[in-house]
């Protein structure tokens, strides 16, 4: 009977094309607006590394100005570390399985052949980064620990860059010029785009592309590759030292630090280690504020950094209200539509259709309109997301509808249509057929 009902629904929709189009449009607009805001919210608030998000911890040490406002939560502490603190932790024996000290920079890539040089973002880090964040490789692998220790000229590149420079072929062992130096490629990583880009959630870059070049942190510092993210300082640098050395020894925060801690006990022990380190530093005049060190796993880290803002939540709520208004409009349109079907319903009742059969038949029609509204909504949401992409830089990874969102859009549209249709369909199925047989 279901296929029969679907056929009847399509026939009925064709009979009233304008009314049907209005209903599809009303639902489509509501779904489109809601899905646009909800998709952004969903992708912003998604877990970028669900299988490990509870064992990866961002490290915060409160080295800030003692005269600054008191710290109440992790959100009040700088999200980055000084170079010297990061380096200390990196070289220390800690309870962490792995640690990675890192920062973002940029270089000029000089391709062989005719292609002109171009800028590219790089991430200076340690070989632990790749295993820690489960970065997938298509060719080769990360450089080894010795390369970190030796400040070696090795790099890992991304698939996009490999496609561009080496036509997608295995480039492991080949050489690539960055600025004035050549680097040997040790591996090519597959498309890898954690969203949000949790390992470095600088404002404005939290949804940016992952870097296409990774090189040893030690080598990057040797070559004085400056950070391209936020650098915040509260104390003047030591004038007596050369500039670079003064910067590296300053209280400026510009590096990110992550630790992989397998158990809550390890995390507690690591936190103790941080506290003890800061206590030691206090002895030499640093860290003059109260002990405010924080470890935040990935999900906590996104909250600490307010990756999802209140504006996003308000927009989702507003668009949901708009969807409700659209559903209410659809109720009115469905009432008008089903009023015109009274005669047919009466005939079907006379021919033996029960109220239940009439109810289901018309509910299928409403659901069919819902599916069409969902498809229209997906189209409008796509346009909305494209608009966001054009308006706001750095949101390019939030402007796609993944299968979950597509299914949600259609499901929500069908649900909305059924909710809108329940009363009109119930009414038409309850009408006494006797008085309506002359209404066809």
């Amino acid at each position: 009977m279901f296929s029969y009902y679907v056929r009847l629904a399509l026939t009925s929709i064709r009979r009233t094309p304008v009314l049907s189009a209005l209903m599809v449009l009303a639902l489509g607009l509501g779904i489109g607006a809601f899905m646009t805001t909800f998709t952004v919210y969903y992708l912003m608030s998604g877990d970028p590394i669900p299988h490990k998000s509870d064992v990866l911890y961002a490290v915060q040490l409160d080295n800030w100005d003692p005269n600054d406002d008191p710290t109440e939560s992790a959100s009040d502490v700088q999200p980055q570390l000084t170079y010297q603190d990061g380096q200390h932790l990196m070289n220390a024996e800690t309870p962490a399985v792995r640690q990675a000290h890192m920062y973002g920079s940029d270089v000029v890539v000089v391709p062989e052949g005719d292609e002109p040089p171009f800028n590219e973002n790089v991430r200076a880090t340690y070989q632990t980064f790749f295993q820690m964040f489960d970065v997938p490789f298509v060719y080769g692998g990360p450089w080894d620990k010795r390369a970190d220790d030796d400040h070696a000229s090795v790099i890992v590149i991304g698939r996009k860059l490999n496609d561009r420079l080496f036509n997608g072929e295995n480039s492991v062992g080949k050489s690539l010029q960055l600025n004035d130096h050549f680097y040997e490629i040790s591996g090519v990583i597959d498309d890898w785009q954690p969203t949000p880009r949790f390992y470095h959630v600088d404002a404005g870059r939290r949804f940016s592309d992952s870097e296409q070049i990774f090189l040893p942190f030690t080598r990057a510092v040797d070559l004085v590759l400056g950070p391209n993210g936020n650098t915040n300082c509260w104390a003047p640098m030591d004038d007596s030292l050369p500039v670079i050395e003064a910067f590296l020894k300053s209280e400026c925060v510009w590096t990110q630090f992550w630790a992989e801690l397998e158990t809550p006990e390890d995390a507690a022990a690591y936190k103790d280690y941080l506290d003890n380190y800061v206590r030691d530093q206090k002895q030499i005049g640093r860290f003059q504020r109260p002990l405010n060190n924080f470890l935040s796993n990935v999900r906590e880290w996104l909250v600490v950094n307010r990756v999802v803002t209140n504006d996003n939540r308000v927009l989702v709520r507003l668009s949901f209200l708009f969807l409700l208004v659209c559903v209410l409009n659809t109720v009115g349109l469905l009432m008008a539509k089903f009023l015109g079907k009274s005669g047919e319903v009466a005939v079907r009742r006379a021919m033996g259709a029960s109220r239940r059969a009439v109810f289901i038949q018309n509910l299928v029609e409403v659901a069919t309109i819902g599916v069409a509204g969902g498809v229209a909504g997906i189209g409008l949401a796509w346009l909305g997301l494209k608009g966001i992409e054009n308006l706001y830089r750095g949101y390019q990874h939030l402007v796609h509808l993944d299968p979950v969102m597509l299914a949600t859009a259609v499901g929500l549209a069908v649900l909305s249509a059924i909710l809108a249709g329940l009363y009109p369909v119930w009414r038409v199925s309850r009408q006494a057929p006797a008085g309506l047989l002359k209404a066809l």
């Binding site: 009925s12 005939v347 021919m351 033996g352 029960s354 239940r356 006797a434």
Partner: protein
Amino acid sequence: MLKMSKISKLYRTELVETHALRELDLHVDEGEFVAVTGPSGSGKTTFLNIAGLLESATSGLFELDGEDVSQLNDKQRSRIRNEKVGFIFQSFNLIPDLNLADNVDVPLRYRGWPGAERRKAVGDMLDLVGLGSRQNYLPSQLSGGQQQRVAIARALAGKPRFLLADEPTGNLDSEMAGAVMKLLESINQEGTTIVMVTHDPDLAHRADRNIHILDGRASDVMAAISPNVTPLPDREAARV
């Protein structure tokens, strides 16, 4: 086939109460062709709606095919309507968006017959009414007489034993009306019980028996004048 005892129907609004039927007693035997006549507003259509289980009586006893149907729920009434009753309406009441085959198919869908059986029944019925070659036509492409023949095919498709016709020739010219009446008579000859509401005395006289309804009561019973039909004694018992 149909037995109504002291059937009353009262319509209530906030301001008025209208007695459409007042303790109506009526009996139709299996195989009869009964014409129901009466002025407008006399209760003919209400009687027909109750007889076809489209409405419930306010009080009284109603048996259809030996089964008390006075207290059935909607699902049970729908099943009986589908299996035992066929309807023919004055304005044909074909569904305008469905082609002839799909219109005739409507009651069979609710019967739950398999597709092949439904298609055969639809084809047979449309052949019976002489429209077998126009299965894919829409009702709007047919004349009034042809539409009524399709409506008859639809009413007969599920092989009901009881046919209710409400002014089946009311919208037809005399030639088409005659053809439709002939069709109904031949259906009756095959054994289908027919109750037909009509204003036309000529058509009424072609039935086995006439029942006159006035002010909600079956106030008169006339034996049919058809020379081919001998009124049975119990048929004459249908009275107020």
